[in-house]
């Protein structure tokens, strides 16, 4: 993994009791900010990243030298306008972009944590990040926004801290991971674990790297982020730099080549153990569990204004699952808006240039501010 230069870090001294029972303290929380916080401190937006995202939301990511993961949506004059708003994004704990994670050194044993890192949850992630909001002295965020796992953090944040966000935008997400979601994550984890270079999670100490397993995990996951129609239109049965089938197992088809490429670039920027931990956190996510299965109770007395967005071709977190959140909020008379955006780009729609989505996001934020 990369060297942690160019990464802003908050050392969280305050102990944080994790859902697994362990308590952590004095841990690093890596973050990035964009725009500037105004005098009244009422223009701050906390963005939560998804499974493989990081704190580098927009501009050039200094570690990968590529565009930030949400460059379409965040920036000067964009839907989430950095000329107006102060954007904060933290790398989740368990991650691999500078926040406390499995590739850190355990001070007690002087060994890299690996799979001895405590299992973390979405709840733990947001409880860690509230420290960052306190650090900036922000009483109430203007908005909390996130897609996919970022959306789960939005829901958890509003549930845990009902008075700390004026508006909330959970996008393409769910309040509880389905059996299919868990199954797909398990496929990825098993791909990593079956790579002998994973070394039971101890690959850093053994100077090894389960790149193949992690790449397969990414390839499988990547398919779930796209729609059948989107794939068909982009790739169809087009062949990769060849005129005819080669009757072998090279990447004959463009889709194969594309997936292999996605796998290969992913391993350069992501840690295999972090992938295990973060997917586990998603699988454990079930917001209504603490409330006798009643999701509405997770938002009791909320004053937050919600705007929920789903996409027609998202089969990973389909509209119906997003609507269940809308229904739970309406049941308690919360202020909730909902729109399903037409898009062939699957779950990934929220990361891409989908004008209707960006328009809705921009209008909601500007009219709510």
């Amino acid at each position: 993994m990369n060297i942690k230069k160019d990464i802003k870090n908050l050392l969280v001294e305050k102990p944080l009791k994790l859902d697994c029972g362990k308590t952590i303290s004095n841990f690093p929380l890596a973050y990035e900010t964009y725009g500037s916080l105004n005098q009244k401190k009422d223009n701050a937006i906390l963005i939560f990243h998804a499974l493989t995202g990081d704190q580098f939301v927009t501009g050039i990511n200094p570690i990968t030298n590529k565009d930030g993961w949400w460059s379409y949506a965040v920036g000067p004059g964009k839907a989430i306008d950095t000329d107006k708003f102060f954007i904060i994004c933290a790398n989740v704990i368990g991650g691999c972009m500078g926040s406390f994670g499995p590739s850190d050194l355990d001070q007690e044993t002087q060994k890299i944590y690996g799979i001895n890192f405590p299992v973390i949850t979405i709840n733990d992630m947001v409880n860690a990040q509230i420290n960052l909001i306190d650090y900036f002295g922000i009483e109430k965020l203007f908005s909390v926004i996130g897609g996919s796992m970022g959306g789960m953090q939005v829901l958890q944040f509003v549930s845990n801290f009902p008075n700390r966000a004026k508006t909330a935008i959970p996008i393409a997400c769910t309040s509880s991971h389905s059996a299919q979601n868990i199954a797909l994550n398990e496929l990825g984890r098993q791909a990593i674990a079956s790579d002998s270079n994973w070394c039971d999670g101890d690959y850093i100490a053994k100077n090894s790297n389960p790149n193949k397993g992690l790449a397969v995990a990414r390839m499988a996951a990547h398919i779930t982020y796209l729609s059948k129609k989107g794939l068909q239109e982009k790739f169809g049965r087009k062949l990769q730099e060849r005129d005819d089938l080669k009757f072998g197992f090279d990447a004959d088809f463009q889709i194969e080549s594309y997936l292999r490429y996605q796998g290969s670039v992913f391993v350069d920027r992501f840690d295999a153990n972090s992938y295990l931990y973060i997917t586990r956190a998603m699988d454990y996510f079930d917001l209504s569990r603490k409330f006798e299965g009643n999701l509405s109770k997770a938002f009791k007395d909320t004053k937050t204004k919600f705007f929920i967005i789903s996409f027609t071709s998202d089969w990973l977190y389909p509209t119906q699952e997003n609507k269940e959140i809308v229904i739970a909020l309406n049941a308690i008379g919360a202020d909730v808006g909902f729109v399903e955006i037409e898009s062939d780009k699957g779950h990934d729609s929220f990361l891409l240039d989908v004008p209707e989505f960006l328009k809705a996001l921009k209008n909601f934020l500007e009219k709510s501010y």
Partner: protein
């Protein structure tokens, strides 16, 4: 804003809670929010219109009255408004029941099929009426269950809901509909506006 919306807005007390079912691009909602401090929600099936509501800062849920009203608790609104869409539902009776469940009262407006121009169109031309209030052809209209003001009155009696107030709108003129002038209003009004209650 069209006259119909002004009348509806006048019927609703300030500071109440309202759901506008089939809120369109949010003209009525916006007026209620800006001028009467009403906590108003919209339900709208068209994505384009939902976007227009969002651009006005209105709280709108994309959805269908026939399937999506059920998520709202009983009497969670003072008024449920349904403007000129009752006739477009597969089952208007279910929708009326839902409106009266989520709202303490419902305000329903209907394009009157008993309006003299409509009758005359059918009588003279022998083709399905096309008027200002009913601008579509029979083959592309969304209207499945056209009714007259009188039909709506009979419907209320038969289904045991109370008509608290009923107004006839013809051109820019508003008048009260009573049992005594029902046939007359049924002939001269092109729109009926009703406040109903269970």
């Amino acid at each position: 804003m069209k006259h119909e919306f002004r009348i509806i807005a006048d019927l609703i007390e300030a500071n109440s809670r309202v759901i506008d079912v089939g809120c369109g691009d949010g003209v009525l909602m916006d007026f209620l929010k800006q001028n009467k401090n009403i906590d108003v929600r919209g339900l709208e099936i068209s994505k384009d219109k939902v976007q227009k509501c969002i651009s006005k800062g209105l709280t709108v849920i994309e959805g269908n009255a026939e399937s999506d009203l059920k998520q709202f608790p009983n009497h969670s609104f003072d008024y449920a408004v349904l403007s000129q869409t009752l006739q477009a539902f597969l089952n208007p009776e279910i929708v009326i029941n839902e409106l009266l469940r989520v709202g303490k009262k419902a305000i329903v407006t209907i394009p009157n099929f008993g309006y003299w121009k409509v009758r005359l169109h059918l009588l003279i031309k022998g083709t399905m009426p096309v008027t200002e209030t009913l601008p579509d052809q029979w083959y592309n209209t969304a209207n499945l269950h056209m009714c007259t003001i009188k039909d709506f009155f009979n419907f209320a009696t038969e289904k045991n809901f109370k008509i608290k107030s009923s107004l006839a709108l013809s051109k820019e003129e508003v008048s009260e509909i009573k049992n005594s002038n029902l046939s007359f209003k049924n002939f001269f009004a092109d729109l009926g506006i009703f406040i109903i209650e269970k």
